[in-house]
Amino acid sequence: MLALVGHRFTGGTRTVEHWENWLLTDCTGLPQLPDGLVHPIALFHVPIQGVGTSIAELFALGKVDGAGSVGLDGYDWEYFQPLEEDIEYRFDGGVIEVERLVTQRGNTYDRFVFSIDLSTPDAKPVARITNHWRLRR
């Protein structure tokens, strides 16, 4: 697992369409945002998909499978400008940290940290996400 540090995702582009943003916002219980603004919570799945991977592929990369195998430790999300519908953003990132740890109860897990940068088509920074997952062994 420690060898995953430095692993780079393929990278790529992704656009958030109106229907997706509508459903996403509706799931949160908030009325739709004005002016084609994307709900801020899109910074979970849009970077993962935009960088050319998926939650399933990240599970496979981290060698976890099944209920109870994954937990969330935390997120650090920086917003440099709001995300908007129908803009083709650029995504680049990779695995920045893996650490094997043991809980007080003696259960082993890997702290798995990846970071992805979002930018506009003309390379202006839009956001940076750093996600900390707990992969249980």
Binding site: E20, L23, L24, D26, C27, T28, G29, L30, L33, P34, D35, L37, H39, P40, I41, F44, H45, Q49, S54, I55, A56, F59, G66, A67, G68, V70, G71, L72, D73, G74, Y75, D76, W77, E78, Y79, P82
Partner: protein, 136 residues
């Protein structure tokens, strides 16, 4: 005037809906069954109740912030997840301003934020929020 110790108006989700978790799983392309298959969670000691996605838990905090300072206000979110939220639970997002800074000419509030279930914190963290002139 917003200043340190200002309380952010709370935002509540009175009934976490498992149907929304299913829609969310499809949007996220999330194969983790604990969000949509009650049988998968039976062995986790939490009964037959599916687990809300972490991003949805965080969304209740972002909704509170948007309700307070508008849809373009969020500059940074740093959060930790303490305990899962289960279907049909009632939860509330709360927050308090801890400091005020001016960055690049923009007045910003750093805030402690929490998602609470019966007074217990299930998500905690810090948010940096741009204060809009009309509300400040």
């Amino acid at each position: 005037m917003i200043e340190p110790a200002t309380t952010i108006p709370a935002w509540s989700m009175p009934d976490v809906d498992p149907a929304r978790m299913k829609t969310m799983a499809a949007i996220l392309r999330d194969p983790y069954p604990v969000h949509w298959d009650r049988d998968s969670v039976a062995g986790l000691g939490r009964g037959h109740r599916v687990i809300n996605q972490g991003p949805l838990n965080l969304s209740y905090i972002t909704n509170m912030l948007i309700q307070w300072q508008g849809p373009r206000c969020i500059r940074r979110l740093q959060v930790s997840f303490a305990d899962p939220v289960l279907d049909h639970e009632s939860i509330t997002a709360t927050g308090t301003v801890t400091s005020i800074e001016t960055v690049d000419g923009e007045r910003r509030a750093t805030c402690d934020v929490r998602l609470e279930r019966n007074g217990e914190s299930v998500v905690t963290g810090t948010a940096v929020i741009a204060l809009t002139a009309e509300d400040d």
